[in-house]
Structures are given as C-alpha cells and as structure tokens.
C-alpha cells in the first residue's frame, strides 16, 4: 500500500507533517512517525492544492503557436481545421502526453477535455497518472442527428465507462448551441439527468453566437440551453463571456459552473467576462480553464489565475474585485467540486492531490500571503512536486520520460510545419 510522509512542510503558515495513505490524505499533524512510509523532506516548501483545469482541448498543444494574430475565421478555416484533419490517434496520444507534461510541471492534476480520438487521450492520461473528464463530443449534421463518427465513439466510451483507476470520468460534451441541434441537446439533457454525468458545453463565447441564437431561437444561448434542460448543477459552461443579467440569474439559480478562460477570450478578442456581476454579485460558481494551446498558448493555470484576477479588476473598474483567494479557490476546490472530485484542499481523508511549492524561489519572497504570491507572482518554476491521487507525478521538478515525450511530439509536429 502506498504510504508517503511529507515531513516539516508548511500548510497555511504552520509547519506540519502530512501522511498520504493510499490515494487519500491520512493524518496531518506535527511529529508523525510512520516506519512504513516513504519520507519526503518538506522543509522550505509549502503544500497547497493543485489546479483543476475545467476547459481544454489537450492534444491541441501540437498546434501551439501554429497560427497567431489572425481573425477567428481565417485562423479556423485556413490553419486550425486543415491541421486537425491531419491528426491521427497516435498524434493525439503524443499531443496529450506533451500537454500533460506541461500541466504536471505547472501544477495541474485534472483537465476537462473536449476533443477527438478519445481513447488515445485516455491512454495518455492513464499512463501519466492524471485525472480527466473525457467528453462525449456531440456535433450534429444537416439532419440534426449526431455525426456517425461521434456516435461510434460514444458507444465505445460508454462501454469503457471511465476504466478502473477512479481518476477518469466521462462527461457529455455537446459542442455549442450553433453546432448541436435542439433535438440532440434535449436528448443530452435527458441522458445527463439519468446518468448524473457532467455536461460540458461552450456557451456565450462570442457576441456573434449570442446574436445568432437570439435570431434563431428568440433567446440568449443560456436561456435557450436552460429551456432544453441543459443547465443544472452538473453543467460546466465554458467561456460564458457574453452574459445578460437574466443569464446570470439562470446560471446561479441552477447551480451550474462557469469555466472562465481569460487568456483565450483576450487572445481571440471574444469579449470581457463580467466577473463582478456574475461571480461576486451574481454568486455563480466560478472555475478556470485554459482552453487549448492554439488560443492561449499554454496550459498554465498560474497564468490563467493572474489573467482572471487582473482582468476582473480592469473589467469592473474596481481594484477590490477578483480577490486572490476567490480566484485561487476557483482554480482548485471549486474546479474539483464541479466534477464531483473529493479534492482541492489539503485535508485529512480528502483525495491526496497536492503541490509542494519551493518557498526559496525569489518570486515567492517576501511571503506576506502565499495565496496572493501564487495567484499574482508565481510561475511554474515555483512548483517542486506534483502529487495526484497519492502518486508523485513530478519530484524535484523531474518528470520521468520527459525527453521521449518531447521527441515524439516534435516528430508528430513536423508534418504541420509551413515554411
């Protein structure tokens, strides 16, 4: 049985020992002895929860920096979609492993994914020890039915049902109101009501999406999705940039989660998320996602938190909005909660997900307030050790197999090079 004892580590300003017993935290106290445990020295390190990335397309890391500074439709039609059409399952495996390398290095242990070739993503996640929600992607054709390709994949995924690790789950992932028919959205709502899975959907990302939805259905995307039963306490709304006051009320009332993706929203000039109105006043449940690397261009939840905190102040014109602690909670505990993962805090009996932070990194000196330092100053160099489900994924900034993963990703990317 896995037992790890982290000695003399700083937890909320106190120096303690933290015992990991199997995949959960055991005792947390001063002076724990456990001869059966592997001991890690936590001196000059703090233990904090890791990050839960609630919206991404991991394998798109293969397209990091492939096409930048472009209009959305040029970018999609001329670059991203043609490149994606070339992606094989093996490529997605390589791209996901590259993404996981970066996530582990920057302190992320869970991601909510929406992409193709799911079994290749699953293989990478299982091997590298992360947590993940795999999306049953729904896109409908002219006839309003789910694409045949999606349908085949769904049957296989539902049979697999998350596998044995306990770290993976399946989510319903209808792409968006403009790519999924009303009949299929209703079906997804019914299915989710029965099977209790998360529904993951892009919603109100751009002004155009809202306009088109108003024209087609006489309702905002949020009101329309709500009328179909899509919005509930296990729904994750990615982006949610263009929200009316009425939309905010619906989301808060239903207990749905927002996956705020500030870097992507800024980069694609999608608009500014109304943090003060939706979260601070509106009490919507707030989590953070990085979106894919093609529109970010990395998967760092640290950067995403800083963009979230600072843009909340800028958008509202009020520097007291977007408090560091609230942003941090959105990136940790609330992100885990959205997916029913009993983690996101360093507490006895919780799942053993954690980061050891190097308090000797100059970015964390002085240390008046560690949460503020993590949200507004840290970068991945501050993260020494990443633990997921009681297993150490990175220790002393080393991840086993890194060189091979990079070599394979480079080999795959050679076919996209356009010189």
């Amino acid at each position: 049985m896995n037992r790890i004892l982290i000695k003399n580590v700083t937890l909320k300003g106190e120096i303690v020992d933290v015992l990991i017993d199997g995949n959960r935290f055991g005792k947390i106290a001063y002076g724990i002895e456990d001869p059966a445990a592997r001991v890690i020295d936590g001196s000059n390190k703090a233990i904090i929860p890791p990050f839960y990335n609630t919206h991404t397309h991991a394998a798109m890391t293969l397209l990091r920096g492939y096409a930048d500074d472009m209009e959305l439709f040029t970018w999609l039609n001329d670059y991203i979609w043609p490149a994606e059409a070339k992606l094989t399952g093996e490529d997605v495996y390589a791209g996901t492993r590259l993404a996981l390398l970066e996530m582990i290095r920057s302190g992320t242990v869970f991601f909510n994914d929406m992409y193709w070739h799911c079994f290749d993503t699953i293989r990478a996640v299982e091997e590298m020890g992360m947590r993940c929600a795999i999306g049953l992607l729904y896109i409908t054709g002219q006839d309003g039915e789910v694409l045949e390709h999606n349908r085949r994949c769904h049957a296989e995924l539902l049979e697999w049902n998350g596998g044995d690790s306990g770290r993976l789950q399946i989510a319903h992932a209808p792409h968006a109101v403009y790519t999924v028919s009303e009949q299929v959205l209703r079906q997804v709502a019914d299915d989710a009501w029965r099977d209790g899975r998360v529904i993951h959907i892009h919603a109100s990302e751009t002004g155009r999406e809202v306009e088109d939805c108003l024209k087609a259905h006489g309702k905002s995307p949020i009101a329309y999705l709500d009328s179909l039963g899509i919005i509930g306490p296990r729904t994750v709304l990615a982006h949610a940039v263009h929200l009316s006051d009425a939309d905010i009320e619906i989301i808060a009332e239903r207990g749905a989660y927002l996956a705020h993706c500030p870097c992507s929203n800024f980069k694609l000039a999608s608009g500014q998320f109304r943090y003060r109105d939706a979260v601070q006043k509106g009490q919507c449940l707030f989590t953070i996602g990085t979106d894919g690397c093609a529109s970010n261009n990395n998967l760092s939840m640290l950067e995403e938190m800083k963009f979230a905190a600072l843009s909340a102040k800028s958008e509202s014109g009020d520097p007291t909005v977007g408090k560091d602690f609230d942003i941090f909670r959105g990136a940790t505990r609330t992100g885990a909660e959205a997916f029913g993962i009993d983690a996101g805090a360093i507490e006895e009996n919780g799942l053993a997900d954690a980061l050891l932070i190097d308090l000797d990194n100059p970015r964390l000196v002085p240390n008046y307030n560690l949460v503020t330092n993590i949200v507004c100053s840290a970068d991945s160099g501050c993260i020494d050790t990443t633990i997921c489900d009681g297993r150490i994924l990175m220790e002393n900034k080393k991840i086993p197999g890194e060189e091979e993963i990079l070599a394979e990703a480079r080999r795959v990317c050679a076919k996209f090079r356009r010189d």
Copy 2:
C-alpha cells in the same frame, strides 16, 4: 580580456557560433574556433536578446503581496506609504538585490528605476552586473520647489555621473504632473535639452489625473507636458493609459517613447491602453515596463509581454492587433534604444546582452515560431543563461549568492509583517 564562445546555438532558426569579445559580440558564424575563449555549449538552446524594463521601482519588491485587492487611496495611504516611510538605505539595497535576482532569472538585464535611496540601488546594480537608469526624482513642495531631500540627492548623483562601468546612467525623473510644479517641469526640460539625459515621467496613468490636469491647466497631461518642453525623443512616458487622439499625435511627432505597464494598469483598474490607436496606427514608439512589485506582483517581462499582446487584441476587439513580433521588439530592441543602449539584438559589434533559451522546455515545444512561443507561452523556466555586457549573470539557471540575497530580503521584510 573577456572572451566567450557559444557553440552550436540557434539564432533565428540557424545553428551558429557566437563569439563575445569584451562587452560586445564579435563574430557570429558557423565553425568559429578561438583557443582563448571560454566555451559554452549552446546545443538545444536559442540565443535571443534579453529584456529592457522601461518602468519600475525595483526596491518595492520588498512589498510584493503586502497589500492587494484594495482601492488605490486605501492602498497608498494605509499600506504602501507607511511601509515605505520605514525603508532605510540598507533596506533598499536588499530589496533591489531581490529584484535583480528575479529580473536576471526572468531574462531582464536593464531597468529604468524611480525610487528613493539611489546610491543603495546603484550599489546593488553595480555588484550584480545589470544595466540601469537611475532617476533623479523630482517631487515639489507647497512652494513649488523641489524637496530638499531630492535636491541633496541630485547633487550627489550628478557628481557620480553614472560611474565607470558604462552600464548605469542617470535620467531625469519628475514624478508626474500632479506632484511636480510647472516651474520645475520647465527646468527639467531645459536641463535635459542641455545634458541629453532621458526624462522619465508617469503620464496619463489614470482618468483622474487627466481630469485634474484639464481643470488645472486646460490641457491633457500630454499636451501640458508638451507645452513645457518635456516631450521629446528622449522622453519615456510611463503608463500613458488615457490618451486622446491629439495626445497620440504629439507623442508620435516628438518621437517620445511609451512605457506600457499592462499588469499594473489592470491590477489598479487604471484603464486600458489604446495599443492599436497609439502604436499600430499612431506609430508611437512602444516599450514595456513591469512597474513595481506592489502593483503587479512580479518583475517578469515575459508575463508583461503576454498581457500586452493579449490586452491589445481585447481592447481593440481585433485579434490581429498586438502582433507577437512587435510586442517582442518593444520589450527588447526598442527598450534599449529608448536609453541609447546599443543592444537588444544579437548582432556583430552590438553590446553583448543575450539570453540562452532552453528549447527542451515543454512550453517551447512545438517550435513553429520562437518569438510567438516566447511572448505567449514561455515562463522563466525557459531561460537557462542571462548575459549582460559580456558577463554571465546566470548560467544553467544558477545565480551566485542567491541564498544570501533571499535571507537578507526576508530579514528586512520582517518589519512590515502585519498579522
């Protein structure tokens, strides 16, 4: 004589050898042999120019995270100013060394500073091998004359005159239109016209500053400063958030430099810089500053570039605005130019300022476009080696004396702790 030969390093996609001869680049070519030179292996590394931070208050790193998420005047009156009143010269030395540690680690070799206890800042900069512009700080009292404290400091600084290293210079640093009298601003303009030094000033940072200036002088801060002769080709305007079209024309016509500080502007909710109008259309010279750590909360030009690029797109509503190459140039070559430093590019005969970038960092894989990766994906973990004026300040991510600098900074900061 200092001779360093960097073998097999990637420069703009080509593998070359780079010879450093004294404080300048010598030959850059394939297959250089030089038995007198110290050899560095540049394999799997790229050589790029380092960053020139055109607006900061370095010693304020001691107040990183000291007071966050507050209204500007609460923040200044209740926290920042009382803390600053406790700062001794030795504290400023310790704080500047902490700042330089962070700058070197994140690839910055020059900073334009405006702060107190200048000789303690100078001591830190000279010891640690950086470049710096030290501000002759002007703040005027009720009588419209420069504070006695400032005046004494100016006389000493002018006698020192930058010292012997060639790495330091003095700039005129009138604080702002609302803290410096008209007569003193006129005097500064005259002095700068004679001595050719840079003028460094906060300008149009907040809406309130603009309103107050319009009331007091019937002109915007830019128009007012221009009427006094302050705005010329050696002027660096920090923040410059609230610019009218007429302001932009003045700045462009005079050939003055903007020091854009996006993190600080976002964090203090000062407003959004008009990148498209001022830089892309208006052709104002564009550089980047981090401002002090109390309003950022770090000194990373990498983060600042990403905020600059992404906020330019968001502010204009156009994802083609704020192109990575233009942002990178602002953080490198144009920043150096603003201070008459013959650096900011890897070119024969230029001053030998450079970074070696670790191309095996996952954040830089794939590498379709290194500049895009640096601006939108990299963090300080990607920087392996920092070279300033031909001298290696960091190699293999190691900076000599780091532990002692951190210990000293912590000792100083203990007096600010408020529990």
